[in-house]
């Protein structure tokens, strides 16, 4: 792991990846405030890419630069051989689903969906057919004549989706479109959105602050922190091989072990295990589910440590147990069984599961 960006297939100038959209060293400053600091990211044809980040990480700004509502302070955005960032939004083959849907209140559902085709002066017959098809796809045919104020949030969401997709954009941008929905509807829409994306085959760039949502839907996740990309990788990889301590903590739970590597052995307090790393200080991420509570039957090369149970938090299918070990080390362990635990437990894990991560400096 040399750079946090090493997992990015678009890293460097490689041409092997058929990029639909190419973001090159895009930076944005508002006054003296740097919101984006040199973002480079390629989006592939038909891909579901999620831009994940906390509020203030710059994710919405990046989306608005792709859509054309903001201009980058420096850097370029390319779609194929065409430079996009100098085009006004209405000349980009990119459509957006807005956070608050932004449906036109004076137009019916049908007229909203037809908007893009009408301004492009498509023949009325074609408009009618495509609008009917799009409404069918999002199951809103029954509400075609309703005004947006008369339908529910989830339905407005679907109309916004149909209004964007009916134009057959090459890229669809979605700005936290599910954040206004309640939890159940949200989970349902996540599944629907993903299957819709597969069906239409259009590349989606989805912005969210919800890491679970990102994991469920994405082909790749681009994790943004304070205007910089921390890691770009498929969900499984970003979870199992986080590049930085920040990524490891942001996506799921983790234990961060600060240690020292010497002669192919990593030491962290009383713990030690073999590694293939060069000497020096190192930070490791160890997922709670990689730690077992002593069965005694573990393989001989497992790392073992004894500790006192501090706290158990029940999470439904699993339970998180915080265990106080020697030297002030506290480990979080995930276990499935619900039976009672003794006060003293023995923990064991495999040294291979401790993933070396880059330190993430405190930022602000």
């Amino acid at each position: 792991m040399t750079s946090p960006l090493s997992a990015d297939p678009a890293g460097g100038s490689g041409t092997a990846w058929p990029a639909l959209l190419s973001i090159r060293r895009v930076a944005k400053t508002f006054g003296r405030n740097a919101v984006l600091r040199g973002i480079s990211l390629d989006i592939a044809e038909g891909e579901f890419l999620t831009i994940l980040g906390e509020s203030g990480s710059g994710k919405t700004t990046l989306l608005r630069i792709i859509a054309g509502f903001e201009s980058a302070s420096s850097g370029e955005v390319w779609m194929g051989a065409k430079r996009l960032d100098q085009q006004p939004p209405y000349r980009r083959r990119v459509n957006t689903v807005f956070q608050s849907y932004a449906l036109f209140p004076h137009l019916t559902v049908e007229e909203n969906v037809a908007y893009g085709l009408r301004v492009a002066k498509r023949p009325e017959q074609e408009v009618g057919e495509r609008v009917a098809e799009a409404l069918e796809k999002v199951r809103m045919t029954a509400h075609a004549k309703a005004k947006p104020a008369k339908i529910s949030g989830g339905q407005q969401q679907r109309v916004a989706l149909a209004r964007a997709l009916v134009n057959r954009p090459r890229l669809l941008l979605l700005d936290e479109p599910l954040s206004a929905l309640d939890a159940n509807l949200r989970r349902q829409m996540q599944v629907e959105l993903k299957s819709l994306q597969r069906e239409v085959g259009i590349a989606f760039v989805f912005v969210t602050h919800d890491q679970e949502e990102a994991m469920v839907m994405s082909d790749r996740i681009a994790l943004l922190r304070s205007g910089e990309l921390e890691q770009v990788a498929p969900p499984r990889e970003i979870y199992s091989r986080p590049a930085t301590a920040y990524v490891a903590q942001f996506i799921g739970h983790t234990n961060l072990l600060k240690g020292e590597v010497a002669g192919g052995v990593a030491r962290c307090g009383a713990l030690s295990w073999n590694v293939g790393l060069s000497d020096g200080p190192a930070l490791f991420s160890l997922r709670p589910e990689q730690i077992r509570i002593g069965s005694g039957a573990a393989s001989a090369d497992a790392v073992r440590v004894r500790g006192t149970v501090l706290q158990q938090s029940f999470q439904g299918a699993t339970e998180l147990v915080r265990v106080q070990c020697a030297d002030g080390l506290v480990l979080t362990v995930r276990r499935t069984g619900g039976n009672a635990l003794p006060r003293e437990v023995e923990l064991e894990f495999s040294g291979d599961d401790a993933i070396r991560v880059e330190e993430s400096p405190e930022q602000n």
Partner: protein, 282 residues
């Protein structure tokens, strides 16, 4: 929740105000319009329709009313044509100066109506600023007579006076439009001009209607501008009402005309209210 005394204390003053200054005068006007004036110049309190018969028979009243409406219509159109772009600019491109520019629109309203009307008199008169300038640059040899004491002067002055009344409601309506609708329109491929006609303008209609109603109703009832700048050809219906209540001492006929005007204005307000409701979405 509130005591009886408190409720009476807060509702009584406006009720009394409306009674004394609105309902009673209207009732009086209504009664007067069915009375008449005797040969000896006294008001006869006998109910009859003679005032309305006279209005129906003498074309001068109709002609003046139609001319007044035509003047008011022109003022309305010019005020909207001037006011809309200004309100649009203010709302969409005002930036940091928005508040300052908004105040600049309001400032003329602090200046007395009479001062503004007289200002136009100095500008448009035969020895006025405009004629002097035109002769000085040899664009005309004699003072242009049609500038002052004409319907033109009335329309110009009223447009100047009532344009702020159209700007304010249009500006309020434009401010009300969520900016992400404009972004959504651009996103869907609409050019700025298409976006204006398909999204911005339709959503600003309530403001336009409110502004138009202000300009039309206020101009229709105006009597100072025609009095000062209208000349014989620029007489408006209110001037007739004024003279009927004054020199002519025919209050009943004046009341009948006023009642007719009231009916016109109230029906206009009713219609504009309907249109505003139809185009409001919040």
């Amino acid at each position: 929740m509130f005591s009886r005394a408190y409720k009476i204390a807060v509702t009584a003053p406006p009720l009394i105000w409306v009674m004394v200054f609105l309902l009673v005068p209207y009732a009086l006007m209504f009664c007067y319009s069915f009375w008449s004036v005797s040969a000896a110049q006294t008001i006869v309190h006998a109910w009859n329709l003679s005032n309305y018969e006279e209005l129906a028979q003498k074309p001068v009243y109709w002609e003046t009313l139609l001319r007044s409406m035509w003047i008011a219509a022109r003022v309305t159109i010019f005020s909207l044509l001037l006011g809309y772009p200004l309100a649009y600019f203010l709302s969409f491109y005002g930036g940091k100066r928005k508040n300052l520019l908004y105040q600049l629109v309001i400032i003329p309203l602090w200046v007395s109506y009479l001062v503004r009307a007289y200002a136009w008199k100095t500008i448009l008169g035969s020895d006025g600023v405009l004629n002097t300038l035109l002769q000085y640059v040899h664009l005309s040899k004699h003072p242009l007579e049609f500038l002052l004491y004409s319907p033109f002067a009335v329309v110009l002055t009223l447009t100047h006076i009532y344009t702020p009344f159209t700007i304010l409601p249009i500006y309020a309506a434009l401010e009300h439009i969520p900016r992400n609708l404009v972004e959504a329109s651009h996103d869907l491929g609409a050019t700025p001009i298409q976006t204006f006609w398909r999204v911005i303008f339709p959503l600003s209609i309530p403001g336009v209607v409110a502004g138009a109603t202000f300009a039309f109703v206020l101009s229709l009832g105006d009597f100072l501008a025609p009095l000062l700048l209208g000349g014989p050809s620029g007489i408006m219906i209110s001037n007739i009402v004024v003279s009927l209540f004054g020199a002519a001492y025919n209050w009943p006929l004046g009341a009948a005309i006023s009642l007719g005007m009231l009916v016109i204005v109230v029906s206009l307000l009713f219609v504009s209210e309907k249109i505003e409701k139809r185009w409001s979405f919040s």
